[in-house]
């Protein structure tokens, strides 16, 4: 294959950019397996010489694995594609990331990516409320989840399992009056928080609990397949993560890693995100079916620096309330 590749590249103009890029690329990602595989497959049709292996897990678990590998002196990953920029900021601070100066971000508004090009947002994943279509009460506000109609019926992802859930907790406690008191109220109302977003999806779509706090694309996508689930953007707004991508300083194949990042933030890569049912980061890419128009999605802002500083404290506060 290696010897054939330059030949093919010379013959087929479409492969011209793949020239010289080959070898192994290891991706650590929090995307669900199917999406990660589709992303890898799309990348590989453009760069057939690159052999991509990926590891999928929740963001906190990916980071734990990575930290063990740092300690063992042999980080495996070349590229990280994980839930949130706060985690990326932490890695950047620790000097673990490699800047990709040549990345073309001209199509994106300022603030989408890291100004020093250490990480790049790939999509917008919001966290809102999902309910089973058999539920008679339809929540429209975060505060609705503390009402008696929802008692014993709410399930949430735990920040110990999900990066989006950690940002969500930081955002909500910053926005709602009373801060962590809101989570105390949820706990008092019988809410459980055990696993990740996947668990929430299963329990709500499966009707074991009627309400869930969850990332948008999961219920919207399963609804399209026929699952009895609805997603609501609450009136106060939603929290959001941007699923950034970054290259590790220790990457064994930085060239392929750069190509992978370029692919994700290219129009083509962003169209793939749309096809998978995500809100693409690229401002001119349309929204997938099932979402309100871009301008109607109200995203609650949050203080990233504070979230980074409070990361451990927030995890502990949540774990304390929900007994983890």
């Amino acid at each position: 294959m290696k010897r054939l590749l330059p030949l093919l590249a010379a013959l087929v103009p479409a492969f011209a950019q793949a020239e010289g890029i080959s070898g192994n690329l290891v991706l650590y990602t929090s995307q669900p397996n199917t999406d990660a595989q589709q992303t890898v497959d799309a990348f590989k049709t453009k760069y057939p010489g690159v052999n991509v292996t990926f590891v999928r897990d929740g963001t906190p678990k990916i980071l734990a694995k990575l930290s063990a590998e740092f300690e063992a002196g042999q980080p495996q990953a070349d590229v990280l594609l994980i839930a949130d920029s706060v985690t990326m900021e932490g890695l950047k601070k620790d000097g673990r990331l490699l800047a990709h100066e040549k990345a073309d971000v001209s199509a994106y508004p300022a603030g989408t990516h890291d100004p020093q090009k250490f990480w790049f947002a790939t999509k917008l994943i919001t966290t809102g409320i999902a309910y089973n279509t058999k539920a008679s009460f339809k929540p429209s506000s975060w505060l609705d989840l503390t009402r008696p109609e929802v008692k014993g019926q709410l399930v949430m992802p735990s920040p110990l399992s999900s990066g989006a859930a950690l940002i969500h907790a930081a955002t909500l406690t910053g926005h709602l009056a009373g801060g962590w008191k809101y989570y105390e109220d949820l706990k008092a109302n019988g809410a459980v928080a055990g696993g990740g977003n996947g668990d929430v999806l299963k329990q709500v779509a499966g009707g074991q609990r009627l309400y869930g706090v969850i990332v948008d694309y999961m219920p919207i996508r399963e609804k399209a397949k026929g699952a009895p689930i609805e997603f609501v953007f609450p009136k106060e707004g939603v929290s959001a993560v941007t699923e950034p991508v970054a290259i590790l300083k220790t990457a064994k194949n930085p060239e392929a890693a750069r190509a992978f990042v370029d692919f994700l933030i290219s129009k083509e890569g962003q169209e793939l995100a749309l096809k998978q049912g995500y809100i693409a980061a690229h401002p001119t890419v349309a929204l997938p079916a099932g979402y309100p128009p871009r301008e109607q999605i109200k995203v609650m802002g949050f203080d990233a620096a504070k979230a980074l500083a409070d990361e451990t404290e927030n995890k502990a506060a949540f774990a304390d309330i929900f007994g983890q």
């Binding site: 397996n33 595989q37 897990d57 694995k65 063990a68 300690e71 696993g195 668990d199 779509a205």
Partner: protein
Amino acid sequence: MRHRTTNKPFLERGGFGLLAFVALVVFAFEILPALRLLLTALAPGGNPDPAKALAALSGRSALKAAQATLETAFFSTLLAVPLGTAMALALGITDMRGRRPASFLFVLSVMISPQVIALAFLHLAGPASPILNTLSLAPEAGSANPMLGRGGIILVLGLHHAPLVYVVMSAGLKRIPLAVVEAARVDGARPLSIVIDHALPLLRPHLLGAGLLAFVAGIGNFGIPALLGTPVNYLTLPVLIYRRLSSFGTGMLGDVAALGLLVAAIAILCVAVSQILTHRGEVLLEEDAPLQPFWHLGRARATAEVFVASVIALVLILPMLSLVTAALVPSYGMPLNLGTITLDNFAEVLTRQDATMRAFANSLAYAGSAAGLLAVLAIPMAYTLVRLAGPARIPMTAVLETSYVLPGIVLAIACILLFLKPLPLIGLSLYATPSIILFAYLARFLAVVLKPVLAGMAQIDVAQEEAAALDGAGLTRRLIDVVLPSLLPAAVAGGLMAFLLAFSELTVSALLWSAGTETIGVVLYSLEEAGLASQSSAVAVVIVAVVTLAMLALHALGRYLPAGTLPWHCPTEGTAFAAGEPVRADPNAEAPRPAGARPALTV
């Protein structure tokens, strides 16, 4: 006394090398990981700090998890023991039909890995159950899945471990001399009173031993509480250990080592007591024929058959049906009908997802190489332990014995501790390579492979070897010409058994996998956690197919194996009743093992 005289010449001809080799294997795979764990738990960072270990053990979540572990293990044992014992009696002493297939299927259910069983039960109940939805019997939306949480874990653990009890009780039944039953019959005792007055008292040590084993299996189980407890935040110690380490990273190693040590201590204590009890309870004398089915059920036969069939339906058929239906619907929570049925989930996991396909290949490779290596290792090891080790045999087998019952998660931590930093002197790093998983499999399943080989070795007459030695055959020659041919079937059987258990395990690889080295157990868990329940069911169905095939292969090997090697082995149907009254067993078919040469491993 005979041992003394035969041991010496063997040792003089190169036996020391073999003995040293076995000692090295035991040290590398069993003692070294345990020492490393002990060191980190008691002296994190090199300085003894028992206060820190104590703090880790007395935290609120640790205490909660310890309670959850003990209560699920205890109550599931209360379910497993009567169920397994009833099955052992029904299949061991009655004339009901279909005893062999029933025994095979019952034991098959424990060979399917716990997380697959947990997944099946999870999808069996609750408002999302594809089966219940298809039958329009699903409970109302908003009702919790009864499988989630304490009750579900107890039920599934109990059902899953009942076959373990069955295996121990069946072995116990076979050790009751037939003469005991015959004497009682002469006195005019009815079968039921023979069971109550004669058999059960003799079985009491086995009953306690089986109960303790089910309890230990419950303590160390990871797959069932991970799938059924995590979503509702009901965590047992192995799950808490996994969660701490996987969510917070290696900074937690000291804490989790302490927790792991606690789990290990409980497990070792229970196994030690169980070993003492079952050893003390041996009643079969050398000259006695073992127990054969003696209970003519008459009209009650149909009832017994319905009971056995229902148990098998409950532990195996129903969960498997649930997996298949869950794998055939497009999305979790939908009913299965002509309009919704799809093979897309199978296509997705078997043809589109690199990770799943690679995981199947990895699991085949890791489980296969571990099984092969262990089968090769087991022959010289069994030889050494039986012929050469002398008094050293007892501590060595005890160490080997405990390794299998140690919770897998504890072994995984020990491996991380051993191999996280590059190895001293050679500078080689095993962390994040397939070697660390292979090492863990070798350590974990050595005892499983060794068991049948030891049983076979005990049956080789030393005279055969002495004759070869007189002809001038050295140790190597004798091993190859005399020992190897006799032990080969047992080694293959042991290897297959290890393959069966390693192929879909999750407990060990959950903490040890990395990019490109994921096992199929890990992929199943990951799919389930990512919310892709239909796809994880598809993976589970494929796993069950592979495990069933491996078990059928093992079954086909059965007749070449020493008696008692296959845990589902049943007395041949019909023979015991040929003349309308109990017939003495054919001594060749079911020969009692020579005294003192009983296989040391009973798990």
